[in-house]
């Protein structure tokens, strides 16, 4: 089953604009990670935010986490054509020392030059 659900499913913006993607999940988590995937290849790790963190930045990326609403958002500022890809949120729920990532279906981002 897929815990994370991203919203919107597809997003098309102009180069230079900001892109905001949302993720909701159902159960408590230890951390949440965002990934990018180009053309069905491997996943590139973007950012990890722990359950006790509310906001995190990395370059042009800003991630927020609201555990009371069980939601996260990924903001890409000043988008570039190279940002065109699928984006996934993945929740990490630990069971003892074991952990596994549960992914949503992803968001397809198209950045028009």
């Amino acid at each position: 089953s897929q815990q994370g659900e991203e919203d919107p499913q597809a997003l098309s913006i102009q180069e230079g604009e900001n892109a905001t993607m949302n993720c909701s999940y159902k159960t408590s988590i230890n951390n949440l990670q965002w990934y990018r995937q180009n053309s069905g290849r491997g996943l590139v790790h973007l950012i990890l935010i722990r359950s006790n963190e509310r906001e995190k930045h990395s370059g042009r990326l800003r991630v927020t986490l609201d555990t009371s609403k069980k939601s996260s958002s990924l903001l890409i500022t000043a988008s570039r054509a190279a940002d065109t890809a699928s984006y996934f949120c993945a929740t990490d729920k630990r069971s003892g020392a074991n952990s596994k990532l549960t992914f949503g279906k992803g968001i397809t981002l198209s950045v028009r030059p």
Partner: protein
């Protein structure tokens, strides 16, 4: 520092055959997880290996089995292949006892005909 490497990149098999996929984790990582990603979907957790033992398993039949070697590398075996096994198979490595990111390989594209 080599990241996660997977082999082969592409594979075509016939229904009923068996397949073995290979993964070398990122240097310093001790845990390997395998995911299956069908077209247009998010990755689904298959299982996770640590200290050469399967520690967690997702909702996949026994046809899916794995192994981890003393050098932390891992194999995924699928027996009696079905058409529905056609997918991108992703390997992820991480550190078990820390809240660290999971890094993914480029995946193996398996096509069952």
């Amino acid at each position: 520092d080599a990241g996660v490497t997977q082999s082969p990149t592409h594979l075509i098999k016939t229904r009923g055959q068996q397949v073995t996929l290979r993964c070398s984790p990122k240097s310093g990582h001790d845990t390997v997880s395998w995911y299956q990603q069908a077209l247009g979907q998010g990755p689904q957790f298959i299982f996770q290996y640590y200290e050469e033992e399967e520690r967690q398993r997702g909702n996949f039949p026994d046809r899916f089995s794995g192994h981890q070697f003393p050098n932390y590398s891992s194999e995924l075996n699928v027996n009696a292949l079905l058409l529905g096994d056609s997918a991108l198979y992703l390997c992820a490595s991480s550190l078990r006892d820390r809240y660290t990111e999971a890094f993914f390989g480029q995946g193996t594209r398996l096509t069952v005909v």
